[in-house]
Amino acid sequence: MRITITSVIVDDQAKAERFYVDVLGFVKKHDVPLGESRWLTVVSPEDPQGCELLLEPEGHPGAKPWKAGLVADGIPFTQFTVADVQAEYERMSGLGVRFTQEPADMGTLWTAVFDDTCGNLIQIIQMKETAE
């Protein structure tokens, strides 16, 4: 058994495609019409054969209040790994991305949290160098 897809629930797939591709820098992998929406996935250009991120439409009535509850408490449900949290923070802030948590030293790692404009908070992390 392998994990090949993980999802974020987005309020608008076209807006999500712009954010996840143009701002975050992911690459579109699959874009297939499926009912009234699309099967839309992106991958990291650093790992094109790796796990796909499914930009899943917010169809179910339970999704919106659940997402709003997480956002109000600042909770990111999805996490990406970056080489340099501070550099990404500066790059993305320059593009107008709203951070609810600026880069913070959490001991063994750096973290920051931003709004994906589609109703989700996303955490980016950078592991600190270990002695080994």
Partner: protein, 100 residues
Amino acid sequence: MTESPEDENVFRALADPTRRKILDELTERDGQTLFEICARLAMKHQHTASRQSVSQHLDTLAAAGLVTSRRDGRYKFHYLDTTPLRRLTERWRRPETKET
């Protein structure tokens, strides 16, 4: 001197090490989400408190006036307010040190 209920709330709030740690972290950066406060407690201080319990600690700090919470659009941030502490230190000041 009689102790006001407001002062009682401040002493009660400060009597707990987790709440003091929350104030420490808000001193380092003012205006944090509940998530950031929980993450700092868990990852920097190996604190095992649940999110619900941290939320209750914030309520106690808010009742004492030491923390204020503000909504900003869809987000909610928590801020440090040291005004009640100044009121407390005033109480034990010697008369001659009051005039500087």
